[in-house]
C-alpha cells in the first residue's frame, strides 16, 4: 500500500509518502510563501528523492478540514487533480484527528486547535491511548469554551465517582490556535487542578506524515471503506461562508429581495 499524503489545511505545506506502513518521505514547510508556490515543488522534490513512480501510488491522503478555507481548497484541488490524473481514490482524514495522532500512545487528552480568528478555534478533544478516539467532534468555538470543556472531561475521567479511573488525567494543547491564545488558555487552566502542557515544536503543527499514518490506519481498519472518489470529495469547512449565513438570515426574515439588492437589514429578529 503506497499512500501519498498532502497537507495544506493551515500554516504548514506538507507532503509525505508511506509505503507498507513505513514513512519513506516526510516534507513540511511553515514559511511565508503560499501553499500554491510551495506544495507542488515540494511534491516534485519528494518524488525525485524517493524515485516515486506515479503509477505505484494507491491512494492520496489529505486533511479534509477544518482549516483555512483557501488552504483546504488548495489541498483539495491538488488531491483531486492527482486522483483524476491517476484514477486513484482519496483518503480524507480530519485535520484535528491528524494533529492528535502525532501524540499516539499517550494517556493524556489531546486538544488540537487551529486559529479561526477573533478568539475562536477549530478544535476537538481526542484520545490516542491504544486507538484514536474522538471525544468531541470538530467544532468552531471560542477558545475558553473548549478549554473548560477539555478540563471538565479530564476531571470526569479522573473522578471515580463519575466512573473515572481514579488516575490523574492530563491534557495536551497543540496547534497554532494554542500558540495564538496561550494566555487565554492558561487563564482558564489556573486553579483547575488538571495537569496541562503545550506541545513541543515538532508536534505543534499539522504534519504530512501524521496524515499519511492516520490514513493508513483507516485503511487497515476499513479497507476500501475509507476511500472517497476524487470527483466527489469536498472539504469540510465547519463554517458556512459569511454570505451563506446572511442568506439563511434573509430567508428567515423574508428579505431575499433585499439580499439580492444588497440592502439586507440586520437585527430584524
Amino acid at each position: 500500500m503506497k499512500i501519498l499524503a498532502i497537507e495544506a489545511s493551515g500554516l504548514v505545506a506538507g507532503c509525505a509518502l508511506l509505503e507498507d506502513g513505513q514513512i519513506i518521505g516526510d516534507y513540511n514547510i511553515q514559511f511565508k510563501k503560499t501553499h500554491s508556490q510551495t506544495l507542488l515543488p515540494m511534491m516534485e522534490e519528494l518524488r525525485k528523492m524517493t524515485d516515486l513512480k506515479m503509477a505505484e501510488i494507491d491512494a492520496i491522503a489529505l486533511t479534509k478540514g477544518p482549516g483555512s478555507f483557501t488552504g483546504l481548497r488548495i489541498g483539495a484541488a491538488t488531491a483531486k487533480g492527482i486522483g483524476l490524473a491517476l484514477e486513484k481514490p482519496l483518503i480524507p482524514v480530519s485535520t484535528l484527528g491528524s494533529m492528535a495522532y502525532n501524540f499516539y500512545g499517550t494517556d493524556a487528552l489531546i486538544c488540537p486547535m487551529m486559529d479561526a480568528r477573533r478568539a475562536t478555534v477549530f478544535t476537538g478533544i481526542y484520545e490516542e491511548y491504544d486507538k484514536p478516539v474522538c471525544r468531541k467532534e470538530p467544532c468552531a468555538v471560542p477558545v475558553e469554551e473548549i478549554v473548560r470543556d477539555v478540563l471538565d472531561t479530564a476531571g470526569e475521567d479522573t473522578d471515580p465517582a463519575a466512573g473515572g479511573s481514579g488516575k490523574q488525567r492530563r491534557v495536551i494543547f497543540t496547534g497554532d490556535g494554542a500558540d495564538a491564545y496561550r494566555a487565554k488558555i492558561e487563564a482558564v487552566i489556573t486553579g483547575s487542578g488538571i495537569s496541562c502542557s503545550f506541545a513541543p515544536a515538532h508536534m505543534n503543527r499539522q504534519r504530512a506524515a501524521s496524515t499519511a499514518a492516520l490514513a493508513y490506519a483507516l485503511w487497515q481498519e476499513k479497507g476500501e471503506g475509507c476511500f472517497v472518489s476524487a470527483d466527489d470529495f469536498r472539504p469540510e469547512y465547519l463554517k458556512a461562508a459569511q454570505a451563506e449565513r446572511e442568506r439563511a438570515y434573509a430567508e428567515k426574515t423574508g428579505q431575499m429581495d433585499a439580499l439580492a439588492a444588497g440592502t439586507l437589514l440586520k437585527n430584524r429578529d
Binding site: 500554491s36 483557501t70 483524476l84
Partner: protein
Amino acid sequence: MSKDITILGIESSCDETAAAVVVNGRNVLSNEISSQIDIHTLYGGVVPEIASRKHTERVNQVIRKALETADRTLDDIDAIAVTYGPGLVGALLIGVAEAKAISWARNIPLIGVHHIEGHISANYIAAPELEPPFLCLVVSGGHTHLVIVKDYGEYEVLGRTLDDAAGEAFDKVARAVGLGYPGGPKIDRAAREGDPHAITFPRGKVGESRYDFSFSGLKSAVLNYLNSEKMQGREVNVPDLAASFQQSVVDVLLTHAMDAADTLGIRKFALAGGVASNSALRAAMKEACDKRGITFYCPPPILCTDNAAMIGCAGYYDYIKGKRSGLDLNAIPNLML
C-alpha cells in the same frame, strides 16, 4: 504535416468552472462550462467564497466531461493551459492547483494563461482566417481594455478603465433599478423596449490618456437620476433608463475604439469579453467598422462568456512559442497584460 497539438484548457477565474479540449489552437473539440450564476443571483453578485467552494466541487467533473466530449484521454494531451490571473484569487487557485496536480502526476507541460489573452483569443476560434495584427476591445464584468494585438502573445494596451469595468457598471445599474444580476443581459433585454435618447447621461471623458475609460461617473449619474426622480415622486421608466445608460456606454466604447483604429490606421477590429455579447454594442461596432471598411470580428456569445476553449487557444500559441510554467505557478489576481 506536423503533429497535431492538443491542449486541455482550464478556467476558474470568476463564477464559471470550465474545461475544454482544443486542437492546434482553433479546433475546439469540447467546451464545457459549469455556471454558478443561479447561486450568485440570489446575492446580487458573485460571492468569492461561494464561487471558490463551487469550483472545488465541480472541477473534476467538468474536466472529465471535456475529455469525454472530445473523445480524448489525458494520454492525448500535449499541454495543460490554465488561467492564472487576473480574477478572484480563491477561484483562480482551484484551476491552478488542479492543473498543476494533473501536470505533475502525468508529466504534461503546464502553461499559465492570462485571462484577457484568453478573451482576445476567442476571436481566433470564431474566425479561422484572423491573424494579428488587429485592434481588440475587451469588455467584461472585470475588464475594459483597448489593445493592439501585435502578434500572438504580444500586446500593447492603449487604454483601460481607470475605475469600474463596463460590465461592472451594467451590474451596478441593473441592481439599482431592480433588474437583478447579471446586469449585462438584463439591461440589454430591457433596453430593447426603451428609447436610448430619453435621458441624457454623461459620456465619461478622462484627462490623461485619450484611450482610457471611466464608468464610475456614468454610474453615479444614473444613481443620481434615480434618486432625484424618486424625490420628486416620479415613476422611472426602466426600459428608457436602461437604453439611455447602455447608449452612453456604447458611445464611449465606440468613440475610443474607432478613434484608435482611425489614428493608427488599423483595418481589423475585434470585440471580446462577456459584454461583447451585448446586442447594442455588437450592432454599433459592426456598423462603425463597416462604414470605415474595417473588418469586424466578434465571437459568438458562448465564446464571449468565460470559457476554457479561449484559454486552450491562447495556450496553444504560448506552447508553440516554447512558453512553459513551473510547478510554483501561482494565482495572480491583478495580473497585468
